[in-house]
């Protein structure tokens, strides 16, 4: 039995949830290295949510869609290259895993939010970072207010937020959330032949946050909201770090 058939059989046996198809397809195209932009643009254009995110990535300074200077997938790809496609492909399973984590572990519905309209974090907050390296390298950043982090940790642990006084438990819960998100997208990358390794998460209190940059790579900023809880996720990635 081939690896693909073995994996299908194991996925059934273990009861794995299906992975987002457009993200898998996109990752495979990026991993091929010889894919042409038209082919990638076609995949993205067929998925309205992906196209919306690509245009958001390609117009980082625009406050809303009316201000977009780049309006088509083809233009976005020509201007930004493969780095932004990879980030999109990675962010999809990451966002799905984050939304699933809230649903599964907290019983909360987490909604995607335009980062431009999200209330910015003010003052000291929790900053979690996971680095990955291999054929793809980059970082995932999770930013969250202390109150939100406490509410999440308490929810996961089945406690009242007032009972949670240990800062390490709050940090650990945020780190695990980051771990779950990143582990899911790592699987997607590895399945497409872009093997990489994850570092354990680092979570610290941070007074501010500088927008990360990665020359030649891509950056996607995402925001999510559930009630009073708001989270920011930034992903940077640089593909084809091939030997």
């Amino acid at each position: 039995m081939g690896d693909a058939a073995s994996y299908l059989e194991l996925s059934r046996r273990y009861g794995f949830a299906p992975k987002p198809e457009s993200a898998s397809r996109l990752t495979q195209l990026v991993a091929r290295q010889d894919s042409n932009l038209d082919e990638i643009a076609r995949v993205i254009t067929k998925d309205a949510a992906l196209l919306k995110r690509l245009l958001r990535v390609a117009n980082p300074d625009a406050e809303n869609e009316a201000e977009y200077a780049i309006e088509t997938a083809e233009d976005a790809l020509l201007r930004n290259g493969m780095g932004c496609v990879l980030v999109l492909a990675m962010s999809t399973p990451l966002a799905v895993a984050l939304i699933n984590s809230f649903q599964t572990m907290l019983g909360l519905k987490l909604e995607d939010l335009d980062p431009h309209v999200a209330d910015p974090l003010e003052g000291e907050h929790l900053l979690g970072t996971i680095s990955f390296s291999g054929k793809v390298e980059g970082k995932v950043y999770l930013r969250i207010s202390l109150a939100s982090a406490k509410a999440i940790a308490a929810g996961i642990l089945g406690m009242n937020p007032d009972e949670l006084t240990d800062a390490n438990e709050i940090k650990d819960a945020a780190g695990e959330l980051l771990n779950i998100m990143t582990g899911n997208f790592k699987s997607n990358l590895c399945d497409a032949g872009l093997e990489c390794r994850l570092q354990p998460p680092e979570v610290n209190l941070s007074p501010d946050f500088e927008t990360p940059t990665m020359p030649g790579g891509g950056l996607e900023r995402m925001a999510f909201k559930s009630g009073k809880i708001q989270l920011f996720v930034d992903v940077t990635a640089n593909p084809w770090n091939v030997d």
Binding site: D3, A4, S6, Y7, L10, S11, Y14, F16, A17, A97, N100, S101, T104, M105, A153, I156, L157, G158, N168, E169, D172, A173, G175, E176, N179, I180, M181, T182, G183, N184, K186, S187, N188, L189, C190, D191, E195, L198, P200
Partner: protein, 133 residues
């Protein structure tokens, strides 16, 4: 005799979630924060089942599983992987090493209990007897 379950995960949060899930059952939970501690705990406690994460500092879960399966005294202990990583290569490699089941994070307590119950006999703790009148 209560069941012995060993949870090997670098996240205290996950170990606490596992602890909360198995609390209603007649079992003792042992904890380890990496593969090295996990191997030592397995040798010391001889658990009935191990829940094992993949990405951990010091020694990862795949290395621990490999060493566990090489040890004649420990290789029969059933292992359930409890991890966010479900990439094809990793899953196939881990399956070939010999795991009984695989649960992808995030998970619900009910899913964990269902998978545990397929391998070991989970029994609810006896509740206090009703007061007699």
């Amino acid at each position: 005799m209560p069941l012995k379950i060993l949870s090997v995960d670098d996240s205290r949060t996950i170990r606490l979630v596992v602890g909360r899930a198995v609390r209603p059952y007649d079992c003792v939970l042992f904890e380890a924060a990496n593969g090295e501690e996990g191997l030592a705990a397995a040798a010391r406690e001889r658990p009935d089942l191990i829940l094992l994460d993949v990405t951990m500092p010091v020694m990862d879960g795949v290395t621990m599983l490999t060493k566990l399966k090489e040890d004649p005294a420990l290789k029969e202990i059933p292992v359930i992987m409890l991890t966010a990583e479900s990439g094809r290569e990793n899953v196939i490699h881990i399956a070939r090493l010999g795991v009984r089941d695989y649960l992808v994070k995030p998970f619900q307590a009910e899913q964990l209990i269902e998978k545990l119950g397929r391998i070991v006999k989970l029994q609810k703790k006896e509740t206090a007897a009703a007061p007699t009148v």
